[in-house]
């Protein structure tokens, strides 16, 4: 039984944590949120220099050739500071998509640049407020050209390469493919879209006959590819959520210890004590589920989908709860613009929705449990 990260992985975590504590305090997140700056270039640059963008990219493609476990510890630290950088879009999603399903040629073309941070990638799945599904993805791919509108696309205004879920015709899931679009090769325009978390860049992305090629060598496999890509991302997002939960709990804890009401620390009232205990309980459940998700991801285990869904459900529940009750613990001051509480409040919900809402993941999970139970 060795259900823990290795000493090397823990050391990596410590390095990332130190770097972000130093270079990415909440004031940086605030700067990006309040300005037109799409992301914190200085922080991103530092992460690139540490080689973290290449963590899980094979050495032959310019990465460090480490695995998902290392990516998980990085994710937890990025989540802890609500880092305003395109790491999840470029690495958990775009790079992983190409690493998993790209042809040798596609890997050679894109992975080295993504690893080196020379370019930024993202994925474009959603087409508005309707959950993406083989039946409602209308963006088309024909004759090597993609046309359609994706919304929202996270980090879309800064993305150089976009993995786009497209409809290539055919029945059910076979209708969907994933296309690689070079965002700088024309036919792609973006318009900023306002979201609940302006510390992350989001756009409406319009494709007009944008040159593209299918990811991998076969069409019609996009839906199952997307499912696997999102399973992996769900585990990594869950580590960001665990980190964020820990940070929100720590903020609430510190305030509860320093703030006095009626001559007592507010942290001495059971309403606050038990609220924080509940945050802690949810955080531990999320952490333990995420550990298993990390292990399944690392082993490409047979329970990856269940473990990923469980990580996402527990992680979203923990972070949203902690972020909400952190504001509540702070009282009026916690609801002001000046307070840092808002960054977790926004990011928690952003993470819980961006790769699909928990209620959708619960469906995915239970379908699997049903199948296993029937077997």
């Amino acid at each position: 039984m060795n259900f823990d990260f290795s000493d090397d992985q823990k050391m990596l975590k410590e390095q990332v944590r130190k770097f972000l504590a130093d270079k990415c305090p909440m004031s940086v997140t605030r700067r990006v949120l309040e300005s037109d700056e799409p992301y914190a270039k200085d922080v991103w640059k530092g992460l690139v220099e540490m080689g973290l963008t290449g963590t899980a990219i094979p050495e032959e493609f310019g990465g460090l050739g480490l695995g998902p476990l290392e990516l998980c510890v990085v994710a937890e630290e990025l989540g802890r500071v609500a880092a305003p950088v395109p790491f999840s879009s470029s690495i958990y999603l775009a790079a992983e998509a190409i690493r998993l399903f790209g042809t040798q040629k596609q890997k050679e073309a894109w992975l080295p640049k993504l690893a080196s941070g020379e370019i930024i990638g993202t994925v474009a799945i959603s087409e508005g407020v309707h959950a993406a599904h083989p039946r409602n993805i209308e963006t088309s791919f024909a004759g090597g050209k993609v046309s359609g509108v994706k919304q929202p696309v996270t980090d879309g205004s800064i993305a150089d390469v976009v993995i786009v879920a497209v409809n290539t015709g055919g029945a059910g899931e076979q209708a969907i493919s994933l296309a690689i679009v070079d965002a700088k090769a024309g036919g792609v325009s973006t318009e900023e879209v306002r979201t609940i978390d302006p510390s992350r860049d989001n756009v409406t992305m319009t494709f007009k006959d944008a040159p593209a090629e299918v990811l991998g060598d076969k069409q019609g496999e996009g839906w199952s590819q997307l499912s696997r890509i999102l399973d992996g991302a769900a585990v990594l997002f869950a580590f960001e959520q665990v980190g964020g939960t820990e940070a929100a709990l720590e903020m609430a804890r510190e305030y509860a210890l320093e703030r006095y009401a009626f001559g007592r620390q507010i942290g001495s009232y059971q309403a606050i004590k038990h609220k924080l205990a509940d945050m802690y309980v949810k955080k531990e459940l999320a952490k333990s589920n995420s550990y298993y998700g990390a292990m399944m991801l690392n082993d490409e285990g047979s329970e990856l989908t269940e473990a990923a869904a469980a990580s996402r459900i527990a992680g979203s529940d923990a972070y949203v709860f902690a972020a909400q009750e952190n504001v509540q613990t702070h009282g009026g001051i916690g609801y002001t613009w000046e307070s840092d509480c808002q960054f977790h409040y926004r990011r928690a919900k952003f993470l819980a929705l961006t790769i699909g809402a928990p209620i959708q993941w619960k469906e995915k999970l239970v379908s699997r449990l049903e199948a296993k139970n029937a077997a």
């Binding site: 879209v193 979201t195 409040y345």
Partner: protein, 409 residues
């Protein structure tokens, strides 16, 4: 058991709606029309409308006529509000002044003060705000630190208030200060009325998480007020403040966010879960049922209160539960409405979002609503202590001089 008016109530309602028909436009007929977004225009319209109401006896309906009121009953007031709500008329900016400040002046002010202020406030010529909360206070209002020191027959005031609604357009305010730090905190307070236009008063808007600014910080730098501006005796400030606070939680209790179960049904018809219409999803349906039952429960709890009023009884404590339920429901329903939009739920743009963006706005707003005018936790304390008679909190600072009580940063 019925929802019908008594004959007297029916007669009054008829009179009211006839007057409203003459003097205002029904929302139903007000397509395209809306209240001015410009604050100055809105204030001007509000004042004009308030004056009209005063002339007709519909401003401060329950107050005696000699004070410019309507000399009516509580239920008259309820009926008027029900009817006025159907019309596109400005309102709200006088609520705190007439609901909290002027009643305090009437109970504790000098005859001169009453003569001077009540009339103009009723007519809407002058607007009032309430200056109690402080950064250090929060739920513990009496923990305030703004200092008032006697100097001849004047008082010199220094300190800061926070969460003051309307401070930037108000003419006057009632201000709670600490005049004696050497006695336990509830005993060293004194109340004054002040001129908000005094240069020694500085108003700064507070920006909220939502991006809006409905509240202000107010700073006092050597503000000098006459002893005659005192409301109640020195040291009686807390007793005076209770007159005012009585009404606050009712005042806040209103808003429950825009989106409700009907909107949720429409949204659920439009979006899908795992490819199927969300409205067919049993978990969505259970939430719709639960929130509908909560909304109905609150609505009919209000009806029970109104019934008590119309019988001349003082309403039971039922109303105290309203905000506990409404605030959490507002946050959860908003949050779930966003979930139903899946990845698109992060969008905060009225044009792109269902229900004109109501889900997102109420999810954000609820974070403040769960705190404003009494947090969830304070309200549960109130229910358990005042309604159920459970013991109050242990007050370690009860008998300590304020300047020796533990305060943290």
């Amino acid at each position: 058991m019925d929802f019908n008016d008594t004959p007297e109530e029916a007669a009054y309602r008829k009179k009211v709606s006839e007057w409203l028909d003459k003097n205002a436009t029904k929302k139903a007929d007000a397509k395209g029309m809306e209240l001015p977004r410009d604050l100055d225009e809105l204030i001007a319209q509000s004042k004009a409308w308030q004056a009209k109401k005063a002339d007709a006896g519909y401003a401060c309906i329950t107050w005696p006529k000699e004070w410019g009121g309507g000399g009516g009953t509580t239920i008259d007031n309820v009926i008027y509000s029900q009817e006025e709500a159907k019309y596109l008329v400005p309102g709200g900016i006088f609520a705190i002044g007439l609901g909290m400040c002027i009643p305090t002046v009437m109970s504790w002010g000098s005859d001169e003060a009453k003569q001077r202020f009540v009339g103009p406030a009723v007519r809407g010529d002058e607007i009032w705000c309430q200056l109690f909360s402080e950064p250090a206070g929060g739920s513990d209002v009496a923990g305030l630190r703004t200092k008032a020191e006697k100097d001849g027959d004047e008082w010199v005031i220094n300190g800061q208030k926070v969460w003051t609604s309307g401070a930037h357009f108000c003419d006057y305010g009632i201000l709670l200060t600490r005049t004696d730090p050497n006695v336990p905190k509830h005993k060293g307070l004194t109340m004054f009325w002040i001129d908000m236009k005094d240069p020694a008063v500085e108003v700064r808007p507070i920006k909220q998480m939502s991006g809006g600014s409905e509240f202000n910080e107010v700073f006092f730098t050597n503000l000098r007020v006459k002893d005659s501006q005192r409301l109640g005796n020195p040291g009686d400030g807390w007793k005076v403040a209770l007159t005012t606070l009585m009404n606050e939680r009712l005042a806040v209790g209103g808003s429950q966010g825009n989106a409700d179960t009907d909107d949720l049904i429409e949204l659920a018809r439009d979006v899908t879960i795992a490819g199927e219409p969300a409205i067919r999803h049993g978990g969505v349906r259970e939430r719709i049922a639960d929130w509908y039952v909560q909304a109905q429960g609150l609505k009919f709890t209000r009806f029970r209160t109104l019934t008590a009023l119309s019988k001349g009884e003082t309403p039971g404590p039922e109303s105290s539960i309203s905000k506990i339920v409404a605030a959490k429901k507002m946050q959860d329903l908003g949050s779930f409405g966003m979930d139903l939009q899946d990845m698109g739920g992060v969008i905060r743009d009225r044009k792109l979002s269902p229900a004109d963006g109501a889900y997102t706005e109420q999810w954000i707003g609820a974070a403040g609503y769960r705190i404003a005018g009494g947090t969830d936790e304070i309200l549960r304390n109130i229910v358990s202590e005042r309604v159920l008679g459970l013991p109050g909190e242990i007050r370690v600072d009860k008998d300590l001089p304020f300047n020796q009580a533990p305060k943290g940063k």
